[in-house]
């Protein structure tokens, strides 16, 4: 049809067209705004594919690789730690070395115009080493009982032995063997009253006067005496920076470390001589199991962290991970310490050193990627720990990495920034979790991974 028409007038009149156009535009807007009711099952029969929702579960009990890594911190020696440990616990044993400079005490006396003769009136002089308690281990039977006061839970060392040792002991050499000891120099046995938040080890004022007159430095080894209660106890070192939050409210936070405390009754004077150096000897540390069948440990203070790699060989191809968890079982009878948060991280197995090798914190930082945290875990009461590692397993099995990955369990560290809060670092407390190994007879106590997955088939219309 050829419509080369000549009409000049709009049939509907001048105003009809704009009204119609507006109506059309409005209708289009209304249709768009109405959009659609909610999606419902209509049409579902045409979608003949679906994920096999949560098709199966897989328990991975085989640990492919295991390492128990001692971790060193080149930037912080043991002599710079904030807590000193004394006692024995779980194969670990430590004494405390302290060094005092008697010349400082002489200067202090001069400044306060106290004559040295005042120290010779022995029956009016009391001399002791005072140490504040930072960490003690809760008695098992009272730990969960909130009605028992904090001080009543302390398990005391009932006696101490103090020996003089050579003054040339290198404090930076620890952990290490105890130095050879000289004479016992404190008043022994030195019974400590239960319930105190500090200990005071008494000395013979006459002997102390000799040291003072001789001047110079003297180094002492503080060791547990017979009859002491079992377990390690942590004391404030001269490096303690968190006295306000870790010591009893009555503590003198101006001098938190070990001090010689001298009372001159005649003059009604007190002199506090702070230690120049202090360190825990940790002359014995527990062995990290070399086979995961024997169990494994996580230790703070002197760090030792476990790395576990699980075997995904039984996981079907094209599986999508809906949930994956790692569970480990802590033997509360062989664990100790304060509330500790535990972080599970991916660990690049390229950094897997030989069993027993030490990793530095920097090495560890390069190897890990934090995944999840369990906050405030009490090693004395909590046994079964489960970590959600779903996203990490998804990455591992879907080839997101060129190499393979294992799992590291550690407390929050600077290299797990999502979970790390500045403050008490993992070196502060000497805590230990002792986990059952893969050789444990009860399967539920073994380290294992539980995976729930969906099988993923190609979707939609095309092949």
């Amino acid at each position: 049809m050829s419509h080369r028409t000549e009409s000049a007038k709009t049939p509907g009149g001048r105003h009809v067209l704009p009204v119609v156009v507006l109506a059309v535009a409005l209708l289009a807007l209304v249709l768009g705004a109405c959009s659609s009711d909610d999606t419902n099952p209509v049409g579902g029969a045409l979608v003949d594919v679906e994920l096999e929702a949560l098709a199966d579960t897989l328990d991975v009990n085989d640990v492919l690789e295991y390492r128990g890594f001692p971790i060193s911190d080149p930037d912080l020696s043991l002599a710079e730690h904030q807590v000193l440990y004394l006692g024995e616990q779980g194969g670990n044993a430590s004494s405390i070395l302290v060094r005092f400079d008697l010349d400082e005490l002489q200067e202090m006396a001069q400044e306060r115009e106290i004559p040295l003769e005042a120290f010779s009136v022995h029956d009016s002089v009391n001399v002791s080493i005072r140490m504040y308690i930072v960490q003690n281990f809760l008695l098992e039977d009272t730990a969960a009982d909130s009605t028992v006061s904090r001080s009543d839970r302390f398990l005391w060392h009932s006696s101490f032995q103090v020996f003089e040792v050579d003054d040339d002991v290198d404090f930076a050499a620890f952990p290490g063997d105890e130095p050879a000891t000289g004479a016992l120099v404190n008043l022994y046995p030195s019974e400590i009253e239960e319930g105190r938040t500090s200990v005071e080890i008494d000395f013979d004022p006459a002997l102390f006067e000799q040291w003072l007159v001789a001047g110079g430095t003297r180094t002492f080894l503080i060791r547990e005496g017979e009859g002491s209660g079992p377990g390690l106890t942590g004391y404030a070192s001269k490096n303690l920076r968190f006295g306000g939050s870790t010591l009893a409210p009555t503590a003198d936070t101006a001098t938190v470390g070990p001090i010689f405390k001298i009372e001159l009754k005649q003059l009604d004077e007190f002199l506090n001589l702070e230690a120049r150096n202090d360190v825990s000897t940790f002359h014995a540390t527990s062995e990290t199991p070399t086979s995961v069948s024997d169990g494994f440990i996580l230790r703070t203070g002197l760090r030792s962290y476990p790395v576990l790699q699980f075997d995904f060989a039984d996981l079907p191809e094209d599986a999508f991970i809906n949930r994956a968890t790692i569970s480990v079982y802590n033997d509360t009878t062989r664990a100790w310490g304060t509330l500790t948060s535990l972080v599970v991280s991916e660990f690049d197995t390229d950094y897997l050193a030989a069993q027993g090798d030490t990793l530095t914190l920097d090495d560890l930082g390069n190897a890990v990627n934090a995944i999840t945290i369990a906050s405030n875990v009490d090693p004395r009461t909590e046994n079964r720990l489960e970590f959600n590692v779903t996203t990490a397993v998804q990455r591992m099995i879907n080839g997101a990495y060129s190499g393979s990955r294992a799992f590291l369990i550690s407390p929050p560290e600077e290299f797990t920034p999502s979970y790390y809060l500045a403050g008490l670092g993992p070196e502060f407390y000497f805590n230990q979790f002792t986990f059952y190994g893969s050789g444990e007879s009860e399967i539920l106590r073994r380290p294992r991974m539980k995976i729930t997955y969906s099988l993923v088939e190609p979707i939609g219309g095309a092949k």
């Binding site: 049809m1 050829s2 419509h3 080369r4 000549e6 009409s7 000049a8 007038k9 709009t10 049939p11 509907g12 001048r14 009809v16 067209l17 119609v20 156009v21 507006l22 059309v24 535009a25 409005l26 209708l27 289009a28 807007l29 249709l31 768009g32 109405c34 959009s35 659609s36 009711d37 999606t39 419902n40 099952p41 209509v42 049409g43 579902g44 029969a45 045409l46 979608v47 594919v49 679906e50 994920l51 929702a53 949560l54 999508f320 809906n322 949930r323 959600n388 996203t391 998804q394 990455r395 879907n398 080839g399 729930t452 993923v456 190609p458 979707i459 939609g460 219309g461 095309a462 092949k463």
Partner: protein, 406 residues
């Protein structure tokens, strides 16, 4: 200027409404829904338009007819669609707005030679469905839902030329750049059990498969004006390949696969005839067939069963009148019927669509364009045969503007 404002207004309205979702559940499978291109004028009279050669209201269905134009022609068509669907699972009503067709034609030699370009939506894949999901695992009862979304289009950009080779005989040819994509997304979301902060224990699964398409086709057409009363038109699009690239992802980056594949679209033939019966009354018919029985593509689609896609369009139009003070008697009136068989089967049976339509139009003053409207009702599929049935109301609007740009 007034005309441009009106065109802009309509365009704004249509584009503002494109956020709507869903069309027909039939589009969930296979090659999706064929989008009937053409303007509202053709839609109102059932779809016939292969024999149109009109300088005032040019039709783009047969490019050969564009040789008649004497001015630059711009045509924009949009649809508002309301669909009620029913299957064994229940019913659902959805609405959607889309703008499937935009065309431009410019005369090179007025009334003899023209070039054309545009955008034409060929097939649409758009629907979503969901159902409640309950699973039991490791002593947990998981509750959530599973949702499937299919979205995308195959469209073409025809670049063509029309030429009146002999008096009454026009020829047309176009190269069609075929492009598009379709994404199919499957979600499984487990709302419970969850942590005290509401985070579900079990990770949702989101699997997305996206195919992108690329191909080129050509269309050859002719239109013969037998007399002032009778015209016939024909076009032929030879079979062509569409290359597809498939990207499959699971929950973002956690797993990715790519895979190339190919499909071969079969020949398509369209024919049409129109004749003046009496006065301003015309009748017309179009018939098209695309032999999808010879379609080559995904085995899954072939297994579902392919059909030759056919469409028969019949209609009547009372042309625009120009009688002084004629009022509404000058308005064009159109109505028609079409029977469409889809390219694939659902439920083992062909999908048949019957369409009844009516329409009218409003010319711009000075004969420099037309606004056409059409309303149609169609029934798609059969509940007993296909297990699914649609009732569709569609309003089409086309604005065609003419301008002497040189």
């Amino acid at each position: 200027m007034k005309r441009l404002v009106l065109i802009g207004l309509v365009l704004t309205g249509i584009l503002a409404a494109t956020g709507a979702t869903a069309q027909t559940p039939f589009a969930l499978s296979n090659l999706g829904q064929k989008i009937e291109t053409g303007d509202a004028r053709m839609a109102g009279r059932g779809g016939w338009g292969m024999a149109v050669r009109d300088s005032v209201n040019p039709g783009f269905k047969n490019l050969a007819g564009l040789s008649a134009i004497r001015q630059v022609a711009v045509s924009l068509s949009g649809y508002g669609v309301g669909t009620d669907s029913e299957d064994a699972a229940g019913t659902r009503s959805v609405t959607r707005v889309m703008a499937p067709d935009f065309r431009l034609a410019a005369p090179v030699m007025k009334g003899q030679l023209a070039v054309t370009a545009g955008f034409r939506m060929d097939r649409s894949f758009r629907y979503d469905t969901s159902h409640v999901l309950t699973s039991y695992v490791r002593g947990d009862t998981l509750r959530g839902f599973e949702e499937f979304h299919r979205r995308g289009t195959i469209f073409s950009v025809p670049l063509g030329v029309a030429w009146e080779a002999l008096p009454g005989l026009s020829l047309g040819a176009s190269v069609n750049l075929v492009r598009g994509s379709v994404s199919e997304s499957l979600y499984e979301i487990f709302l419970s059990p969850a942590t005290s902060t509401g985070s579900p224990f079990y990770q949702p699964v989101q699997q997305i498969q996206k195919d992108t398409f690329e191909g080129t086709s050509s269309t050859w057409s002719a239109l013969y004006r037998w007399s002032d009363r009778v015209s016939v038109g024909v076009s032929y699009t030879p079979a062509y390949d569409i290359d597809a690239d498939r990207l499959r992802t699971i929950n973002g980056l956690t797993a990715r696969w790519t895979q190339p594949w190919k499909m071969r679209m079969p020949d398509e033939i369209q024919t049409g005839l129109q004749a003046r019966v009496i006065g301003r009354w015309w009748v017309g018919a179009d018939y098209s067939v695309q032999a999808f029985s010879e379609f080559e593509g995904p085995q899954k689609w072939l297994d579902e069963g392919m059909e030759d896609e056919t469409r028969l369009s019949l209609g009547v139009e009372r042309m625009l009148g120009h009688q002084r003070r004629g009022g509404s008697s000058n308005w064009p009136v159109r109505f028609g019927f079409a029977q469409h068989r889809w390219a694939y089967r659902v439920g083992g049976e062909p999908i048949d669509e019957s369409i009844w339509s009516a329409g009218t139009g409003f010319p711009f003053s000075g004969r420099l364009g037309v606004l056409d409207l059409a309303l149609s009702y169609s029934k798609v599929g059969d509940l007993e045969k296909n297990g699914l049935e649609d009732s569709v109301w569609k309003m089409a609007v086309t604005v065609t503007g003419l301008e002497r740009w040189w």
